[in-house]
């Protein structure tokens, strides 16, 4: 079976490749989203640390909203 | 488990049971309307409105499929084993379309014998197999039928 034939998948290449493409693209997007969120969170933790470092004894118990 | 936790769990579970009963009843009630379509008999009788988008369902009559040579246009008959109506269609048919298969056609009635379809749907029968195996199955089915016929003839011969 040649490459051309493999890509064409009879007359169904369009449907098969779109299905597989969208599936793995959307899962990849989830990972990208998580990586971006992680960056934000680490900044949050760092800024909190900086804020609370000099006066460690008086840590406020306010909620940090998401 | 502590008493207050148990109480909470029971509350959640009983609320869930009540709700699911309600939803089940509701779905049971609407289930009957969900798949409304006309059988060929009702169409021929004139129960189905003309020039309004409707759905008809039935089996594709063996040998009735006529395809145009230079376009996708196709004509075929469907039946509910009592009456027959003709469906015309000018787009490509689904892969599962077969003679003898049950299909559903959506479109407008031209008269009480012909439907001009805008959509033809075919249902899958939950079986998945390679073509060679399907061929073998068909063949062995045919052979089996022949054999049964022969055995029947032999039996007849005995009497």
């Amino acid at each position: 079976m040649g490459l051309q034939e493999f890509i064409a998948m009879g007359k169904h290449g369009f449907y098969v490749w779109w299905s597989y493409g969208v599936t793995f693209l959307s899962i990849a997007l989830l990972f990208v989203l998580f990586a971006w969120y992680k960056k934000q969170l680490i900044n949050k933790v760092k800024s909190f640390k900086r804020e609370s470092a000099p006066k460690a004894r008086s840590i406020k118990t306010e909620q940090i909203s998401d | 488990m502590k008493a207050h936790r148990k109480k909470k769990l029971i509350t959640i579970l009983s609320a869930l049971a009540l709700l699911s009963t309600a939803v089940a009843l509701l779905l049971y009630a609407i289930g009957d309307y969900a798949d409304a379509f006309y059988e060929p008999t009702r169409v021929v009788k004139g129960d189905a409105p003309l020039n309004k988008t409707i759905r008809v369902g039935g089996l594709v009559t063996l040998g009735s499929v006529k395809r145009a040579k230079d376009s996708l246009y196709v004509e075929f008959d469907i039946t509910d084993n009592q009456e027959v109506i003709t469906i015309t269609y000018d787009k490509s048919l689904p892969d599962l379309f077969r003679e003898g298969q049950g299909i559903m056609a959506e479109g407008k009635l031209v008269d009480n014998k012909t439907l001009e379809a805008t959509k033809v749907l075919a249902k899958h029968d939950e079986k998945y197999m390679p073509p060679e195996i399907a061929d073998t199955l068909k063949k062995s089915h045919k052979e089996g039928v022949e054999k049964m016929k022969q055995e029947k003839n032999n039996e007849k011969g005995d009497y």
Partner: protein, 248 residues
């Protein structure tokens, strides 16, 4: 028996500790990735190339190898979310609400994949990309439940309130899962009836790649949940000393 149930409860409590989970899961992830990658290499080789075409559907049968696993996980994911919601409400375990929240976006994406691949299969095979039959409608409802959960949770600024209200939605919505599963049996749907659990409906040459792909999707789902749950731990333990040391 007493011993094993004791160790189960110990494990249950450890899993309830964000610190324990955060440290342990970092060690699990490489292994999970390795197994998942192997499964996908085999699974994709078979599903895209080495498995036979179907006698009626031709090559579009290959869509089944991602559609069915996505469908399975969209439902299993929602059930897992509902179980976490119950544990969170009843036992007030910290981690369970975090896990519940971590599952939601992942489940939503798998539901979307299920719907999309189903449409892509439906066009050539049925002759339509969508039909308001019970199976497809209830799967669409599942997507809305996931999205509703995410929206509801993010609409509260108080995290406790957000967790509790979203948990109730997760539990109530779980009714939809058995409806999705039973729909093809209870109603006359365009969608075919059970084939995965029905013996002999799927030829072994197609069943093997399907099972490999279901395994691969399961593990991928678990990896995604762990990754997202680790983020949720960071999000909620910002003030903990151990976390600041972890991230330093």
């Amino acid at each position: 028996m007493a011993n094993s149930s004791k160790s189960f409860w110990r494990w249950f409590h450890q899993l309830g500790s964000p610190k324990w989970f955060y440290q342990k899961s970092a060690k699990w992830l490489p292994w999970l990735w390795a197994i998942t990658a192997i499964l996908f290499v085999f699974g994709l080789y078979f599903s895209l190339y080495a498995s036979p075409v179907d006698y009626q559907q031709g090559n579009s049968v290959r869509i089944m190898y991602i559609h069915v696993p996505a469908a399975v996980l969209s439902m299993v994911g929602y059930l897992a979310m509902a179980v976490c919601a119950v544990i969170g409400l009843v036992w007030k375990m910290k981690m369970s609400f975090m896990a519940m929240r971590a599952i939601a976006p992942i489940g939503a994406v798998f539901t979307f994949i299920c719907l999309f691949t189903g449409s892509m299969w439906g066009i050539p095979t049925w002759g339509t990309w969508w039909e308001w039959d019970a199976r497809m409608t209830s799967e669409l409802v599942l997507l809305f439940l996931y999205l509703g959960f995410i929206a509801l949770h993010s609409s509260f600024s108080d995290r406790n309130k957000a967790d509790r209200s979203a948990a109730i939605l997760a539990i109530v919505g779980a009714i939809n899962v058995p409806i999705i599963y039973g729909s093809v049996k209870w109603w006359n749907t365009l969608h075919q009836a059970y084939s995965v659990t029905k013996k002999g409906a799927i030829d072994p040459q197609m069943q093997t790649p399907l099972f490999i792909m279901i395994g691969a999707f399961y593990l991928l789902f678990v990896i995604l949940v762990i990754v997202r749950l680790r983020l949720e731990v960071i999000n909620r333990e910002t003030k903990s000393k151990w976390l600041q040391e972890e991230l330093a």
